[in-house]
């Protein structure tokens, strides 16, 4: 009885999660084992064929594309995010809030609009090409749109704030006297960074990487707008199957496949941070 009372505040959250996450997810799981007729209507007939299709080389390639995109997005956002987070954390209080505001600012604008922004920048008649042409650095427009790299750029741009904020949190928590202790004991700036700062901010890196990796795996509007369908990603595939393809059972099976990939990443994240957590944040 006492336990129920203690956990009472958790019930609204639990109800919220059940209604908005649990039930839809259950429906997706059920749907993934069903079939459809030629018009796209669901037939209540158990089948594993949707899952089998996932191992078709064509679809495996799509999974691989998304996986590569997500991994590279993680690496790029890490390389950009770490220095930004590090220097933000070393600013004084006032400047720090200002810089964090700047980092958050893009969230105030629709992400769809911001993605369109990139096509204005990178397009054949885009700003970058125009400038390069104007200064005669190039004589014909560079082809920067509708490539894997374009999607990667857009995705990394969209997700980099999550990486920055995650790392910022752990750099901010870092006890500066540990760095001083390292200098004092004979460590230079770089040695101190690799021996003290990096290992101690690893939880932030792992968290940021996870926060970036998971959406990068599933985002589909960026690849739609910037990739032009030249490279197929799981997000697009699921979207296409569910809408134009009228094959919701197959889309569901692929969605489950994607969730399993995410679970795998979370598992690795758990392993990476498990050993550190205890000693880092006592």
């Amino acid at each position: 009885m006492k336990k129920i009372k203690q956990n009472l505040p958790a019930f609204p959250i639990l109800a919220y999660l059940t209604i908005l996450v649990g039930i839809p997810l259950l429906l997706v799981v059920i749907l993934s084992f069903l079939s459809r007729d030629s018009l796209g209507n669901i037939i209540f007939e158990f089948t594993l064929s949707n899952y089998k299709k996932m191992f078709d080389p064509v679809y495996l390639k799509v999974f691989l594309n998304s996986f590569t995109l997500a991994i590279l997005t993680g690496i790029i956002t890490l390389l950009i995010g770490y220095p930004v987070a590090y220097f933000t954390a070393s600013l004084d209080r006032k400047m720090r809030s200002f810089v964090i505001l700047l980092i958050m600012l893009p969230f105030w604008i629709s992400s769809l609009l911001r993605t369109y922004g990139w096509s204005i920048l990178l397009g054949k008649e885009g700003l970058i090409n125009n400038i390069l042409m104007f200064f005669n650095i190039i004589d014909k427009p560079l082809n920067m749109m509708y490539k894997f790299g374009t999607v990667l750029t857009g995705t990394a741009y969209m997700l980099v704030p999550f990486m920055i904020l995650s790392i910022y949190n752990s750099v901010d928590k870092l006890d500066r006297s540990l760095l001083e202790a390292s200098y004092d004991l004979g460590g230079g700036k770089w040695k101190t960074f690799f021996n003290i700062t990096l290992p101690l901010t690893m939880p932030g890196i792992a968290q940021g990487y996870t926060l970036v990796f998971i959406p990068a795996l599933g985002l589909y509007y960026i690849s739609d707008l910037l990739g032009g369908g030249n490279t197929m990603f799981i997000g697009n595939l699921i979207n296409n199957m569910a809408t134009r393809g009228r094959n919701r059972p197959l889309a569901s099976a692929f969605a489950i496949g994607m969730i399993l990939l995410v679970v795998l990443v979370l598992f690795i994240y758990g392993r990476v941070t498990k050993n550190n957590k205890e000693s880092l944040y006592q």
């Binding site: 004991l185 004979g186 880092l280």
Partner: protein, 363 residues
């Protein structure tokens, strides 16, 4: 001539507009245990950080073995610090913490490092703790590891920044003795920062009293305690009755002063004689150690007469307040000739000659 290991020459330090260190000059001898003592915010930790290289200095110079080290990065100075919060690396175990210095300097082989770490852990009595993570250690143990980690580099000077501040009273007393012994055993020069006068008096060869970024007095514990040079030191170190008095006349070997309506004599060689800012008249400060005073029911020469207003038995000592013409004088006695005092008793208060100081009025 005594070997000067470290010379601090007229250093000044500003944080923004506030002047933290004002022309600090200090010579530190090889092998001594010297303590920087002062209230919090007096700049003592800043001096330590300037020596370590963790703060730059705005003017002046710091010489180690006669060579300027003021422009050297902290990792190029052969001094090591024991930080106030220990600053042990939380992701490394005890062994790796202690081995950090030699490893990062790549000065010696892994075999040699192992030998040195073992030696160091023995020195601080922490053998067998190699594999522990630092968060599994108690405060006192962390303290020892921090010392071992700093000493393994064989520094010319070990800097200790209030290292006992976080420990409980009993452990603190124990560690004071340990530290003093360790210093003698390793023959390393210790510069120790504290705001705790008892710690300073207990361990140091010499004490540097600092207030508001200015060195007030440098001397042996005995010197600083008994021959306080100015009002600040007299007030900060030891429990003293500090009263303003009127100087009536200056005699050959004593001053005749007036406190309230009592006229008393203060021996001159223990007073302002060598720092005579007083022309023998005007007002001055009389400072008398509370525990060098005595209460008596019979009249004594050169004493104050008043009425007991408060008696406090604190275990081994008795604190008694005596009202002398409206001025409250506190007397601390460890034993007395009478069974007890009663509030309202009229008594005479006297003091040992070397317990009283006459100081110039300005701080």
């Amino acid at each position: 001539m005594i070997e000067q290991l470290l010379s601090i020459r007229n250093i000044n330090k500003f944080f923004g507009k506030s002047h933290i260190l004002k022309d600090v000059t200090l010579d530190i001898r090889d092998g001594e245990f010297i303590t920087l003592l002062g209230p919090s915010g007096c700049g003592k930790t800043t001096i330590l950080r300037c020596i370590a290289g963790l703060e730059s200095i705005d003017s002046g110079d710091i010489l180690l073995y006669g060579e300027s080290i003021k422009d050297l990065a902290p990792n190029k100075r052969n001094v090591n610090t024991v930080f106030q919060n220990y600053a042990l690396f939380p992701h490394l175990n005890v062994y790796d913490n202690v081995a950090y210095g030699p490893r990062i300097k790549k000065s010696i082989s892994e075999d040699e490092i192992k030998k040195r770490v073992t030696e160091m852990l023995e020195l601080v009595q922490m053998s067998g703790f190699e594999k522990r993570m630092t968060h599994q250690l108690s405060g006192g143990q962390k303290q020892r590891i921090a010392i071992a980690r700093a000493l393994i580099n064989k520094p010319d000077i070990l800097l200790l920044d209030e290292p006992l501040g976080a420990l409980d009273l009993k452990l603190r007393k124990y560690m004071q003795t340990e530290l003093a012994l360790l210093q003698k055993r390793t023959k390393t020069t210790f510069i120790y920062v504290t705001h705790d006068q008892e710690e300073a008096l207990n361990m140091s060869d010499r004490i540097v009293v600092i207030n508001e970024g200015v060195v007030q007095q440098v001397g042996t514990p005995n010197d600083v305690y008994n021959n306080s040079k100015n009002l600040f030191v007299a007030d900060f170190i030891g429990d003293r009755n500090i009263k303003e008095v009127i100087v009536l006349e200056k005699k050959e070997d004593f001053y005749r002063v007036k406190l309230g309506s009592s006229v008393i004599d203060i021996k001159a060689d223990r007073s302002m004689a060598d720092r005579d800012k007083c022309d023998g008249t005007g007002s001055a400060i009389l400072a008398i150690h509370m525990d060098k005073m005595k209460i008596s029911y019979t009249q004594i020469l050169n004493s104050l007469y008043g009425e007991i207003t408060f008696v406090h038995y604190a275990g081994s000592q008795i604190r008694t307040d005596v009202d002398v013409d409206g001025e409250v004088i506190t007397v601390i006695e460890y034993q007395n000739d009478y069974d007890n005092y009663n509030i309202g008793d009229k008594v005479y208060v006297s003091w040992e000659e070397n317990g009283a100081l006459l100081l110039p009025k300005e701080k």
